[in-house]
Symmetry: D2
Subunit: 259 residues, 4 copies
């Protein structure tokens, strides 16, 4: 009952087979470790740096795969939305609507998500302070929805680096449950290639700091073959490393909640 | 022919009278000073920190006021768009479609703007490097539109401050004409009130640095009564100061282009 | 044997009585909790923002108090040095010589400290990356001293805030044992008063993240009456809170080293 | 009378011949352009990242070369000092004592420099706000010396980049004459090699912004063969480019002071 929860899955839904394969593996691990699990997958990627980046397999097709994951494994799912009309569309298939960091100041989008009655997972903008997230949460509650989460995905630190401010964890827990998006927090944006880099060797370091400072949940992108994933490969966790990582984090969490 | 151009006007279109009043004053000044002028006004404000911030007077109503400014004074106009469907809607009334800084990574929105054939003014994200703006410009040109501009509105510098990196001016001029948005660059975001602050006493300093480093245009929000403007009052230029400022900048520009 | 170690004490040595009073309390706690303890106190403060800030009670007098703390309670001591001649002078009285963050690039000072044969505690400059600390450590080892420590005291994040980059912990442990200076990491520098502010309510958050990410030691300034301390009062830990804090951290450490 | 002044020369005094050769060239140019000139050269380099970096040819030897430059060409000279005893030593040979950015918070050093009665050029720390420089200036004036200058050499922007905040120019001119150190502001610190990089192609951009915002002086390191200079080669100006640069800047200055 006191464990952290986990949002995990591939960056983008590339197809049914890969989604089910990842979900099956993570469901098995999280069942064993008693970690509440939410399957994560983007049904489209609207904010790539480059126009030739992968943007998805088709909205309906991807959303139906998310639904199939949910019914197959009896787990809730989360996906990110980018436009007002995405809110109702995605809400027909998933349990948690996620507002991307770049879009968390778009009032119309946040309100549309809130009005579906689904959980609204608000990503903290890279340019926002922890304190300023209270205003985003208030847009959800003022819309009659008290199920907001806040996810920290790092803060801009110079042009080509992100940093996580762990003072934000207790600060933002005053407003809503707090999730740490470990893999995006390790991005290295604005690379000259137009493709974001990453530092996956630091995933466990950030996870441990997050658990120790009291996050309610962790978010991570994972893939059985990160090098060949169609987006964000540079900072995903290799699925084969997930069991060891989660096992250690559950033990850490158990100590932390009893301090 | 070699002067800088100016995008100026109120933050939001609050009504016809105030729009015409501001436009009349700026048109007169820019005619005298031979500054090509584009009237600026937001037809809605979708990205306020707080849900109770002013968001507009109605889309059609505001767009029609922009059109009336254009026909009354024979000046082009610019407004910012926030969703794909805004592109065609606004393009029916204005000459330049502006992509807000938070949204400049949204491929669908940039492409929709580009496809109208209008000038697309891309605001550099506060979290983006000057170099990374080449990818945003490429989304416009790959859509068959070669009329992209880049507007710098400052870069995140800690949670509560913005800074302008003037190395970005020659860098971004490699990709498109560069505009400096002076008033937004002086914002002080993430204030505890949820209302962004500003440093209007620094407007001329930034303008001078921009002209000296070769910007093609300047962008500034101005109002005859900044303290009572419905949004962004903290960093607008008082309209009464515009004549002196522009007069000095035109003289500076004349020297700079002849160096 | 596997516990973290603690560097703690007042910012400046204000007098014998206060030094002994703080040491007695911390020695008792750390004995009970089996935490190796190093008493910390500055014998002079050379880098205050303002010329009227407190700078010390006299070098020899303060160093002799440090020595008295050491002999009275049988604990090692640490003090910071600011000039080459301070190295030998302080080494006659203390066990660990600390190089302030602002001075860690001063080769002469680092080499002078190293040549005393004492442990050299190198504070990471607020302007330095974790990786760049390897060069500072190398100056110590190239001087024939293999007893370098690295202490992180936060990194500049805008003008008026500091942030701790926990990716630095595993990075810097490649070069030397790593200490987290919790209280200085919470400073809020460049305040308009010329007196640095702080956020002491975040001390435990940073301590927990440090322990979870594997720091070897913690550093904190503590005082029985922070509000009346002659320097850095805004970010010291109230001594009455130390027992609870250390008790929880020892339990966290025990879990972490067994993960 | 209204021109900007120039501090320029090599990073380190590598020998008499190179110093005289650089001085001769710059003296000739600045005489023609009526730019008050101060020859700059470091007599030692105490703050290199790596212990094997070049640190100098010997203090007395380098100081005597500075004196010879002064008498040969009838120009004042500036050098940076790193320890209290350097102040009187260097003051016997040079006209301006410069406090390095890393050391500007060291009260003893600033006071020692001030007490020589020479001009004290205070470099703004990379970690300091423009406003906080008033405290450094006050240490000089409180020592009975009213000849302080402030030199901006950029501000930390992430680990591996520097940025110039031009809002600092009018801010710091409230306290003292302001100089822009163009070449150090373009450094790229914390490179993995331990050797600082640079962006010399941006020198003119920063110079122009500095002149336009009203700096009193410019500072730049220059060498007839930057690639073979013994320190800071990556961001020095090639001496052959100086004439064109200064000619354009003088014309810009003339316009700016008459706005």
């Amino acid at each position: 009952a006191n464990n952290f929860f986990l949002l995990a899955g591939p960056c983008a839904i590339e197809g049914e087979e890969m989604a089910l394969r990842i979900a099956e593996k993570v469901v098995k691990l999280t069942d064993e470790l008693k970690i509440p699990y939410v399957f994560k997958g983007s049904f489209k990627k609207a904010n790539r740096s480059r126009i030739d980046s992968f943007t998805g397999i088709g909205d309906e097709k991807a959303l139906k795969i998310l639904q199939k994951v949910s019914t197959t494994f009896d787990v809730p799912t989360v996906t990110d939305i980018h436009e007002v009309e995405d809110a109702a569309k995605a809400a027909a298939y998933v349990d948690v609507l996620q507002i991307p960091a770049f879009l968390v100041r778009q009032t119309d989008l946040v309100v549309a998500a809130a009005q579906t009655g689904k959980v609204v997972n608000l990503k903290k903008g890279q340019f926002m302070s922890p304190e300023s997230m209270q205003h985003a949460v208030k847009k959800v509650t003022d819309s009659g929805n008290d199920k907001a989460w806040i996810t920290d995905r790092g803060t801009m630190f110079g042009y080509q680096d992100m940093i996580v401010d762990f003072r934000g964890v207790p600060t933002m827990k005053q407003y809503a449950p707090v999730v740490l998006d470990v893999t995006h927090s390790l991005q290295q944006p604005n690379q000259s290639s137009g493709v974001t880099g990453g530092r996956p060797e630091m995933i466990e370091t950030l996870c441990r700091a997050g658990i120790a400072t009291g996050v309610n949940g962790l978010f991570m992108e994972t893939h059985f073959d990160p090098a060949n994933a169609k987006s964000d490969g540079a900072n995903m966790l290799d699925l084969s490393l997930l069991e060891g990582l989660l096992t250690r984090l559950v033990r850490l969490r158990e100590t932390v909640i009893n301090l």
